[in-house]
Symmetry: C2
Subunit: 426 residues, 2 copies
């Protein structure tokens, strides 16, 4: 089925066929029991462990092509599958088996004066398109999350990971078939032609949601072109605000964790906001720890006055998602100033306040309009597993449907069920 | 502020200015207390009653223009405001005052093993654009629903109702100002230039949601052009399935109510599905009542064989939203056939089954994938007030965010609040 080399004009036909198959599979998956879905996922985990050699061989082809094309070492590492990474992928599927099935759960139920009983019950969204870049483990993760939540998925991996993704998808499909579910519950777009993405973005007649996972240019293209609803993850320009009423040691440790635990995750802090009233008490202990950890500091005038190592921050720095050991530091006038700075420069992802003043904390939590707002907690907790959702398909910076970590529950919608006794509307 | 006559090239500047003002108002409204919002709505109701003459005078201008342009009597009636219609508009605002404020409600809360307390709390969506056609009462309804749910709203009424809408918006803005809220919480697009709609549909930087209310061509344009998320109401091709185990009298009364109570509402039944096993027992009592009520019947061969008055239905009839005293009638093979027919021809709005067989009912409720599914209840209950939501801004046939009636709660989203004790991620 290597149709990678088919000409561009076939993208229309290829995507139409994906749609036909996806719609065909959707009814069975939507109404499938938890047992059947879990059997398929457990079998997929077993096959992935059992067929590890085949997956690694497919991955070796991708790596060879990447090397030939001069891919950077960092990107090659993202693409590389190893024995332990394949094991982790299989464990990820087992973890999803263990999670509760959201489908069929009653969200609420009420009775009307005329006797009608109305309930809202979770149902799958339908058919989801996941468009992602190099990392091949997304293939298994996204596939499994969609299966468990009753959603048919069409995966469009990066061209760099095409062979790896195809090997993994084939195992998922085999597992579905042996569990009595349609193998078309999971499909991989069988071409790396970019025109196929364009077709998916216009496939309103069969695609209910697009989840792009990747860099800014992918997200921008999807946002610009898509007629299908998009669950999006834009920048994570996360802020830590250190208030005058913060404990100094807590501020020092929390900023260090938020910035430096892992600098490449979307929940990593990018800007430190320091209360003007805390400049002489809190700033230097916090910055000293960051310098110890090898973090570059770019500060405003107040910060540079106090920290000889600080570089000058420019307006551009307040809008930067460094994803690197660099932090921008701005002086603000108390919690109001912090709220204003975040409203101006933030990306509505995750922000935290460090303070022992409960009233100040509540103002921050109430007024900062981000997907995740925290008090005395590290921004690095912005993660589905850390939230207790189990696996996540990503973090949503949308305002509609789901905000923050998107797990199984967030991959469902609801229907309204109305039960009467021959009830007529007057 | 009559800028109706400004040239098209000003649409960009006009919409940018609307955006600037909307963003400015959003922070205050988002964090406004219930009391302030209710005061504004009560004052708006009072002003609408008190300034009835001014509203009717503005409406008279719209009606005169409509008559001069040769508008049909039906559309003129939709546009016309009368003493009692203005009173109803004011009562509508009072009703919204009485509804609970959804903002700030805790949806759920849980504690993680590390002590983090995570809660999901309802917050306004932000800035909502409502694009609607002739009916001027939408101006007050949509404006009030948005205010109460903490959302800034930009209203784009039909050009036919421009003067009426402007008169109503001016009273809403005056009421906001006297209640200490920014008057820009409600704005009317001050031009009837269609280019302004195009600008709104691209206003991703300040508009969080577009709600189109109107005919198919409006919805289609918005769907095609919008980069902003859309809460959409497509067709209501609603089905009643009469099962072999239905009570004959219940089927007769329920079909009559679903079809004929009001034929012009989106929840009106358009297609009757009759179980092949009920053809000889249930069909004629049901059709006889429909004929008595003046309903035209378009049936398949089995129906025509039994009902001499039935016209022949064509394939096109299964996809028709008549919104008229006409019903299509198809014979299906039991509940499975009904489910298949609805999957093929339905619009995922509202469908009902009439049966006394609980197992059959559960299959229908489980497998029919519509926003609203009913058992022994009239499809005409597809309505926010009938659901007990109070007022509604419309019915959503989206799959994401909200399905079915969209009231105050559905006009909110949530934020994730995380409370720690200096908690660091390991």
């Amino acid at each position: 089925m290597n149709v990678q080399t088919k000409p561009a004009e076939d993208a229309v036909a290829i995507v139409a066929e994906l749609g036909r198959r996806a719609k065909g599979a959707a009814v069975a998956l939507r109404t499938a029991g938890t047992d059947a879905k879990n059997r398929a996922l457990s079998e997929a985990a077993r096959l992935i462990r059992h067929q590890k050699a085949a997956i690694l061989a497919a991955n070796a082809k991708d790596i060879a092509a990447a090397q030939a094309a001069g891919m950077t070492a960092a990107l090659q590492d993202r693409l590389l599958l190893t024995d332990s990474r394949v094991d982790a992928m299989a464990r990820g599927l087992d973890d999803i088996v263990a999670l509760p099935d959201p489908v069929g759960a009653k969200i609420e139920e009420w009775t009307r004066p005329n006797g009608l009983v109305i309930s809202r019950v979770r149902v799958p969204i339908g058919v989801i398109g996941v468009i992602y870049e190099a990392r091949p483990n997304v293939t298994a993760d996204a596939g499994a999350l969609c299966i468990k939540s009753g959603n048919v998925v069409v995966l469009r991996g990066g061209s760099d990971s095409f062979h790896s993704s195809r090997a993994i998808v084939e195992l998922l499909r085999r597992a579905l078939a042996t569990s009595g579910l349609p193998e078309d519950c999971v499909q991989l777009v069988p071409t790396t032609d970019r025109a196929a993405v364009g077709e998916m973005l216009r496939a309103m007649d069969w695609l209910d949601l697009i989840v792009p996972r990747g860099g800014r240019s992918l997200i921008d293209r999807v946002t610009e072109e898509s007629r299908v609803p998009v669950l999006r993850h834009y920048d994570g320009i996360c802020h830590v605000y250190v208030d005058r009423d913060a404990d100094v040691a807590m501020a020092r440790d929390l900023v260090a964790n938020a910035k430096m635990r892992r600098v490449s995750v979307c929940g990593a802090a990018e800007t430190l906001l320091i209360d003007r009233a805390a400049l002489d008490t809190h700033l230097m202990p916090v910055l000293a720890r960051l310098h110890e950890l090898g973090c570059e500091v770019r500060g405003d005038g107040e910060v540079q006055k106090r920290d000889a190592k600080a570089l000058a921050a420019t307006e551009k720095d307040w809008r930067m998602e460094y994803l690197a050991p660099v932090i921008s530091v701005a002086t603000v006038d108390g919690v109001d100033g912090a709220i204003r700075h975040i409203a101006t420069y933030g990306s509505q992802h995750t922000e935290t306040i460090v303070t022992n003043n409960a009233a100040t904390a509540e103002r921050f939590l109430g007024e900062v309009d981000s997907a995740i707002v925290m008090h005395n907690a590290s921004t690095q907790f912005a993660d589905g597993a850390e939230f207790g959702l189990g696996a996540e398909i990503g973090i949503s910076t949308n305002r509609m449907h789901a905000r923050g970590p998107v797990g199984l529950v967030e991959l469902t919608t609801y229907k309204n069920i109305v039960r009467g006794k021959g009830t007529l509307r007057p």
